[in-house]
Symmetry: C2
Subunit: 287 residues, 2 copies
């Protein structure tokens, strides 16, 4: 079944291969994914009928599952469900493939698992071209707490995203499109749903995952390829002044791909359209 | 309809008054409560057919809704739905009444709202009598960040509880029943689903909500009543050494009521059964 609503086309496939109508109810009220945000997810981009960085996404799904003590994901089953979804999706349209995996209804011990294909929001398509304004918002944590306190699930892509959503609403209130979270010591962490990358000359730089952020799948793909194309890559802590001094500030995610930041906290950054164009073309050549 | 499963009796009522079967699906996969933990909840105790601290719970639901930019809850509708639930619940059995309010399916702007009645878990009933062992776990935040960074939703009872659940699993791994979260400066915050209260002579003491914790509904009820019964009450920051030096350490929540902590991080606390008995009897006399 293929649903078409205000939000565009959608395809829903459960992990057992069942194709279902996304406009009807499939989830119980006592699903712990709902009652406790107790589950994990990934968002994979499919473009021209091909999945981008699926291996990295499934690796991260496995890591997230381990951090939340969920049963290890059955990679082959996820791949099959995604395949079933893509058979129903027109290959000339990009698809945001969301993988959702929850602890399931309370007391049943049976996880809930499905993939949901959705269209890329208009806003994201526009931002890929126009770039974005971001605000820096405190995330509250020190950069050293993630390794010491694994129960904080920093680095797991859990369904408990209320803070990420609240931060995006705060950005909107401030007239911006997105957020860069900063740690208690002022160092730069990540966006609520994206990785931060800067360029300094011919060097790409991003903060390390052990400060309590997600390892970026798009960033991982780009860095590997950029190295082979003669760029240097650095994974090390980053400060807000270093963002301002960079040649380009970029937000990377599956849906955004490589998006240029043109404004931080209301102040314009130097024009980075040229290096952005080069990196987009490098990134696109990957697939 | 009344469902009865391994988990015991359950009653489900939607905010529009519809009574539904909790064992079947009612929630869409794209409900933002599920995909983003984007919603709020409350758990109210009904005992002897009477609701405890409903006013405080609805006040807190309103505050949480405001913090998450959700439409203000319709108190009368919540009260009616809870009333419908209790009509179907045997008045000689305690009921955990969960109020759940999410942003609803993506793009619809129609919140999801229901009340779910469940039995009190056996474990909680036992802990009320036997007391509990807790471990202290770092929560990562400083005590001053909540007021400065409202997008962190500290003090909102959101559905994004994955960290709270992970902390409880960590406690279990360490052979304990529950958790006391501590702030980055070592001060005591709260349990993942409970308020911390200590007694020092004839004084009850709990940390202030502005350090980034939930205002406790059971604590609020108890403190008001205790003052009238001649206790002093203090709302001020608390350290772990102060817990160890207290006459009694208590965890309070709707379901736990007033539960005694007998062990912190593997070390036994002085016997507090007598003052605990007095406070339980004071608390019960409230209703």
């Amino acid at each position: 079944m293929v649903g078409r609503t205000l939000a565009g086309m959608r395809v829903l496939v459960f992990l057992d291969g069942t194709v279902a109508d996304p406009e009807t109810a499939h989830i119980r009220v006592d699903d712990l994914g709902l009652l406790r945000g107790d589950g994990i997810f990934e968002t994979v981009l499919a473009a021209d009928g091909k999945l981008r960085e699926l291996g990295r996404h499934l690796d991260r799904l496995e890591r997230s599952a381990a951090m939340l003590d969920l049963p290890a994901p059955d990679r082959a089953a996820w791949e099959r469900a995604i395949g079933t979804l893509l058979e129903r999706w027109p290959s000339d349209r990009e698809c945001a493939v969301k993988l959702v995996y929850t602890r399931g209804p309370e007391g049943t011990g049976m996880p809930t698992a499905f993939v949901l294909g959705q269209e890329i929001p208009e806003k994201v398509l526009r931002q890929r071209v126009d770039g974005i304004a971001v605000v820096t918002l405190e995330r509250g944590f020190g950069p050293d707490v993630a390794e010491r306190a694994p129960w904080l699930l920093l680095g797991a892509k859990s369904l408990s995203y209320a803070v990420n959503m609240a931060a995006l609403r705060e950005a909107e209130r401030r007239g911006a499109d997105d957020v860069l979270f900063t740690a208690a010591d002022g160092s730069v962490l990540e966006g609520p749903t994206a990785t931060v990358v800067i360029t300094e000359g011919r060097t790409l730089r991003t903060p390390p995952a052990n400060i309590g952020i997600l390892p970026g799948t798009t960033q991982g793909g780009l860095f590997g390829w950029a190295e082979r194309a003669g760029w240097s890559v650095k994974v090390e802590p980053l400060t807000v002044p270093e963002l301002r001094a960079a040649d380009a500030v970029l937000l990377l995610s599956s849906l955004r791909r490589v998006t240029r930041v043109h404004t931080i906290d209301g102040e314009g950054l130097p024009d980075s359209t040229e290096v952005h164009r080069e990196l987009v073309s490098l990134y696109e050549s990957l697939y």
